[in-house]
Amino acid sequence: MAPGNIDESLLDLFIFETSQNIEQLEQIILDYEKESSFTADAINEIFRIMHTIKGSAAMMMFENISSVAHKVEDMFYFIREHSADDIDYGDVADLVLESLDFIRCEMAKINTGTSADGDGAAIAAKIAASLQQKKDKYQNEQQSVTAATADNVVNEEPITKKLHNYAANDENIPVVNKKTYKANIYFDEECQMESLRAFDIINKICQFAEVVEYQPGDIMDNDNSASIIRENGFEVVFKTSGSYTNIDEFFSKLLFIRKYQLKEITEASLPQTEADVTPKIHIDDKTEQKPKAAAMSTAAPADNHTAPVATMINVNVVKLDKLMDLVGEMVISEAMVVENPDLKGLEIENFSKAARQLHKITCELQDTVMSIRMVPLADVFQKMHRVVRDMCKKLGKDVKLEIIGEETEADKNIITHLSDPLMHLVRNCIDHGIESEEERLKNNKPKAGKVTLEARNAGNDVLVIVRDDGMGLDKKKILAKAKKNGLLKKDSSEMSDSEIFNLIFIPGFSTNDNITEFSGRGVGMDVVTSNIEEVGGSVSVESTEGVGTAITIKIPLTLAIIDGMNVQVGDSLYTIPTISIKESFFPKLKDLITDPDGNEMIMVRGQCYAIVRLHQCFNVKSEITDFTQGIFIMVEQYEKTVCIFADQLLGQQQVVVKTLPRYIKNNFKVNGLSGCTLLGNGGISLILDAGWFTGMK
């Protein structure tokens, strides 16, 4: 399997499973690091996972990943075999995490189709050095040299020519009429584990013959005899009553054999050691200890049931996206059939009945597909443990992470978008929110800070709250900064606390003057906002000085299908998400206002709202420019409201949200649109970004 012709589904699975293994391993490390010791189960588990990663990576020819994983595996092999109490777990954890980061980085490269060319030699050497140190220490303590580990240097001691005896298992073979044979066997160069291949052959010969001797004789307990066999071949002498032809056939069927010679020999040429010694089969007692049923379900980390894993399958998200698309098309097609203009005015009771049934099934199907795409937030939340750990270690702070409601579910695609903002927020909390230890003690706060991640459902949204018990936001500082950067739109004395705090989300506002390694990087909270808004969510902040800050992210449960209102402007069609529409209405002339600057506004129930003419805004030719001929749609988003003017409403329907083509997204900035959708007639409607409209004025 050269990288060039890797089976794609196999690669997908490799990426998926290895990523899962990395996450799982990281979690184990973080869990146990707190207690600064690993249980035997944990060690087994880490060993096993690293073993799996190593094996899979080697199969896929990702040598660098495989070799780093191998080194970690070796280290845990040693730890497991010697359960030394004085191992520095912090050091071990650092090494494992560093290795995981390396592997993760390589995986990311593989995922994006670039070659995984990272050099793992440095980290492999680091682990090897650490392992050697542990071994030396152990040896000094034990005053013995029994610390045989998997990567021991190849034993160069002289080949023992001494012949070993081996009695047949089957005592019933009559000794009479037995002939003695000698076989010299040379294995394939690539067969690996030659000593065990030889061992296997002896085992097989024992079933029909009495093995007299073989050479090298120490294959049972010296794995390094493999190299001897590789060079000199393997020789076995045995007695049997079987015919030469039969025996030759036996050898010819053996696997991985480059060549062999089978000779009948006379009794006299045998050395004088009789086969009366009881079988000496040494079994290494360093067998693997059974990993106890560690409650680690690989299929669904958040799932604590011990239900048979066989009922779970892993599915590529691309397939789910495709399924979702298809269901979307079906919803559209259904509308096309049921609302077909040809049916207008017809009395078709049976048709209507059938149509209702179809609608019911379509809805159910849609709900089911949606539910398949729903995944718990647990994965994203659990990732934050690592973030907190690294931050604390670097900044010398002590912060506990509390997680609430990690079982809350949201659409897979939305959750993917949540990871980065959340990481940013958590870093911010620890970096800027949580005070130094001295300061906390001075303010009668517990020494350790606390960051809480909470998720819960709220209607069609999921709320994710990042809360810290730190110093809170400094209103004065925020105002000063906003003023300096020219972000203040009105007098600060007129602003509510909430308005002041939310200034931090405005692009161009970066609260921290001293850019730290973690949360700074020259980007501010506006990155969080833009990420969240991309999936139709919103961010808000509450804070009390000296008590803490809470940032609330509101994200929709699902994105793929939304209820939308189709409107027409000239020849163009637009879809407005129903969720942001408050009402639509025909205006009265007396309510329309134009200010001296030419800004158009409308009074609705005593409130004044800005008007956006879609035809003007999108530069579309339309006959309808007079307000009384068209219709107004009042749109609200993020507590701001605007009235959109369009030619006419076409009706409400469920639409499948598609993003704008990559070429357009990559090269141009399109304001006011969040995507597009296909209509029943094959046409395209552009989905309006309500947030942009309400924010534009």
Binding site: Y77, D223, T287, P291
Partner: protein
């Protein structure tokens, strides 16, 4: 057609082996992700040959091999091992494993091994 049961905790490995086998005219009758399930599947599917990973959670390949052998002394089990697991492979052979393959294996290795064992 030789009917094979694949026991491996890594879905990747199961798929890799399955692909090789199916390409070479074997029928994969079942997969199991640990020794325990492997043992149950053996009883359920009655495969001609089992490929058995060694390092697995819940029940290791060695223990599963022993269980299967207890249930069916003629069971044909091939161990899938990695370098560094010599002592375990030895134990497996002592416990009745018919052969073993070493990861990362070559396609023809696995095919040859299974073919020869199936026809033995």
């Amino acid at each position: 057609m030789t009917r094979v049961l694949i026991v491996d905790d890594a879905a990747f490995m199961r798929m890799a082996i399955r692909k090789v086998l199916e390409k070479n005219g074997f029928e994969v009758v079942g997969e199991a992700e640990n020794g325990e399930v492997g043992y149950q599947k053996y009883i359920q599917c009655q495969p001609d040959v089992v490929t058995m990973d060694i390092t697995m959670p819940e029940m290791t390949g060695i223990d599963a091999l022993k269980q299967i052998k207890k249930y069916d002394a003629d069971a044909k089990v091939v161990m899938v091992s990695a370098m560094g697991q010599e002592s375990l492979v030895r134990e497996a052979i002592m416990s009745g494993a018919k052969s073993f393959i070493v990861k990362p294996y070559k396609e023809e290795h696995i095919v040859q091994t299974l073919q020869s064992i199936a026809t033995a």
